[in-house]
């Protein structure tokens, strides 16, 4: 459980911290700063954290999450 909360905090600090500057300042940039055809803040403040979170999720599920036997159902089932 603590790992999930840590991931949420880290991604939150990245996305909200970066975008509180970049995304809210982008309105005054004309022409807009772009990367891969998108506003630059979308790439650094959303797309890259999304990719990183997905990589972490794959690692977490395949390497970190432990297998355990499932509980037997009670008699009434």
């Amino acid at each position: 459980m603590y790992v999930m909360i840590c991931v949420w905090v880290v991604v939150g600090l990245w996305v909200l911290g970066y975008n509180s500057q970049a995304a809210y300042a982008a309105e005054s940039e004309m022409p807009p700063q772009m990367l891969f055809g998108m506003p630059r803040w979308v790439v650094f403040g959303w797309l890259i954290p999304l990719g990183m979170a997905n990589v972490f999720t794959i690692w977490f599920c395949l390497r970190f999450m432990k297998d355990e036997p499932m509980e037997e159902l009670p008699e009434e089932e």
């Binding site: 909200l16 995304a23 004309m30 772009m34 998108m38 506003p39 979308v42 403040g45 599920c61 355990e68």
Partner: protein
């Protein structure tokens, strides 16, 4: 031009009807197969949890499809279209939804549900805490808040069907017949006949296959619906990027856009008409260029000139002011202008957005334009709220919890989380690109932004010369709505049957339980349909209230019940009531302050955040001051544990 567009629209309409018919046949075949699976198994366990043996694809698809409701394919595109790229920040919490919402409780919830033999969320809480009161309060709150969802999805389903079948001649005849039939009936007669017909067909279809096939039918149809949604998004993305001239071109044109102004206009015909002249909703009129912006007026409603009448006043319109450099946007508008109308605008009275009027760059930055707030669409504190809302309100939705109780083993869970993470990335990111392109390819849809999804599907496929494909693409949001409705329907009926009826009639035979289950599912569906005959206008607020209320009521009680041995039944009841109650109070304050049904955002934070905080504090205080639960229950679910921790 008009005739050819009509033929294309008819072709798309017939294709939509065929797609819809094929889709419904598949749905009922799957329900029939699911019904056959029920023989020889414990009825309730199979009907409500599919015998807890969901494999990877079934679990992953049913979770993703239930999550991607009508809101994802109708409301979300409408918001992207209206506010631009800031929606990436609004939805940013979804980056961690698969890991946090699924990973936080799925494993433990599944184990506790198995150990206690529970089928519903209230039952898990009741057995874990050993308290009837906990189960009763949980059932009441679940049915209350979940019903708002059900209502909203019924309306969305019926609305999509009206768009899907709008040009089909058989459908138009049926609408006329329904209109004649309901006209003399009080209250029912005030419903729009096309909406009513679609609502009835939608409700009967979804209730029938859900009641017939139960959870397994819902899961199997979710898988099919999930594939349709994914396929629809991929095709739309390819067509949109191709037709807009690449994403870079779309972003550059978007950056030069300013929000439209709304108001009314006086229209004047160039010559006196000899017969009635009608300008349909959506008609474009071109005005002279001003300060480097080409100006266009678009009608928000129809305008009618009677014979001999040259002037019509107070016609609701929007004024779109496009940069002369926006070639794609201007060419799109001009292709829709009928030069033979002979109509001009003699006067115009419009007002701009409170945030973003006359400002370029608002569609490619935060906080995004907003018509009725000077703070913009997404002030930073609201962005923080939504970053908390999506993963944690998501984790606490009972409809998702029901799925987390049904997977068969840990490898299934593990692979499903990976699948859902990739699936969500492939749905939400492309949707943002598609509908920011939509602002360039289909300007002026602020007049009815909720229709942007089917309109884009029709435009893109017609331009590509494959109008039949529109049927499949419009089936995607329909599938999204259906996959949510069936899950919510089953959840509500499950709570009523298992947590109310069976508690009062513990010796009821399986045949009797079957009968009660079927009739409850049908009854809940019928009730939702009747409630939606004349739907309220503030439906989107009701949806947020419903999901926020469920999150506030269940997040802390469920998480603490799963992980904290010291939790008491009194604290659980207090946590559910204070969380749900706080949401209700914030909405009540919002109603008084804002004059409409909306949550009061104290310090710009969403009411959900405050409600969860209230629930957590109340639970901690009550737990410290109430007697512990029976030691045997703690030992059953946590092993030998020191209760002083």
């Amino acid at each position: 031009m008009t005739a050819s567009l009509h033929i294309l629209a008819s072709a798309a309409g017939n294709a939509a009807l065929i797609s819809f018919a094929v889709y419904m046949v598949f749905v009922f075949v799957l329900a029939g197969l699911a019904n056959r699976e029920q023989s020889g198994k414990s009825f309730l366990n199979e009907y409500f949890l599919g015998s807890r043996n969901l494999g990877m694809w079934a679990f992953a698809f049913t979770y993703a499809a239930t999550s991607a409701s009508g809101g994802s394919f109708m409301g979300f595109p409408s918001l992207i279209y209206t506010h631009g790229w800031v929606m990436a920040l609004w939805i940013a919490g979804y980056i961690v939804v698969p890991l946090v919402a699924v990973g936080l409780i799925a494993k433990r919830l599944n184990q506790v549900a198995r150990k206690s033999g529970s089928i519903t969320v209230p039952e898990v809480l009741r057995k874990r805490l050993g308290s009837e009161m906990v189960g009763t309060v949980a059932t009441v709150l679940l049915v209350f808040f979940q019903f708002f969802f059900l209502l909203a999805q019924f309306k969305a389903g019926a609305k999509i069907m009206t768009t899907l079948l709008g040009d089909v001649s058989v459908y138009q005849s049926a609408v006329t017949l329904v209109g004649d039939l309901i006209h003399p009936i009080p209250w029912v007669g005030s419903a729009e006949p096309d909406y009513l017909l679609c609502l009835i067909v939608f409700a009967i279809s979804v209730v029938a296959y859900t009641a017939w096939g139960g959870f397994r039918a819902v899961v199997w149809t979710d898988m099919m619906q999930g594939v349709i949604m994914g396929l629809g998004v991929v095709i739309l993305l390819g067509l949109a990027l191709n037709q807009v001239g690449g994403i870079g071109n779309a972003t550059r044109e978007l950056a030069r856009q300013v929000p439209p102004r709304a108001g009314s206009a006086t229209l004047m015909l160039k010559t006196e008409p000899t017969e009635v002249v009608t300008l349909v909703k959506g008609t474009w009129l071109e005005l002279p260029e001003k300060k480097g912006r080409q100006q266009f007026v678009r009608l928000k409603d129809l305008a009618k000139f009677s014979g001999g009448q040259r002037v019509v006043e107070n016609v609701p319109v929007i004024l779109v002011r496009t940069s002369v450099e926006n070639e794609t946007e201007i060419s799109s508008i001009r292709s829709q202008i009928n030069d033979e109308l002979g109509v001009g605008v003699s006067s115009l009275d419009v007002v701009g957005y409170q945030y973003g009027d006359d400002r370029t760059g608002v569609y490619v930055s935060a906080p995004g334009p907003k018509s009725n707030s000077g703070l913009g669409f997404l002030p930073i504190m609201l962005a923080v709220s939504f970053f908390c809302f999506w993963p944690f309100a998501g984790a606490a939705q009972p409809s998702y919890m029901a799925r987390q109780m049904a997977f068969k083993d840990i490898p299934t869970l593990r692979h499903s989380i990976i699948f859902v993470a990739v699936y969500f990335s492939m749905i939400y990111f492309p949707l943002i690109i598609i509908f920011t392109c939509g602002r360039v390819l289909l300007p002026g849809w602020e007049i009815d932004a909720d229709r942007i999804m089917p309109e884009m599907a029709t435009l893109l496929t017609t331009n590509a010369g494959v109008p039949w494909l529109a049927g499949l693409l419009v089936a995607a949001p329909f599938a999204a709505v259906m996959s949510s409705v069936d899950s919510f329907l089953l959840l509500v009926s499950g709570s009523v049957v298992r947590d109310v009826y069976q508690r009062r009639n513990p010796d009821a035979s399986e045949a009797k339980m079957k009968k009660v289950t079927y009739w409850t599912t049908i009854g809940v569906g019928a009730l939702a349909m009747v409630a939606m005959l004349n739907p309220p206008q503030f439906l989107q607020d009701l949806i947020v209230f419903g999901s926020g209320g469920l999150g506030a009521s269940f997040l802390m009680p469920v998480v603490l019940a799963l992980y904290w041995p010291r939790l008491t039944s009194q604290a659980t009841v207090a946590g559910m009531l204070s969380g749900g109650g706080a949401m209700a109070i914030f909405y009540l304050i919002g109603y008084v302050v804002n004059g409409k049904f909306s949550g009061y955002e104290l310090l710009s934070l969403h009411p959900f955040i405050w409600s969860v905080a209230v629930s957590a504090v109340v639970m901690m205080v009550v737990a410290r001051n109430s007697p512990p639960i029976q030691a045997v229950l703690v030992e059953k679910y946590f092993g030998n544990t020191d209760l002083k921790q």
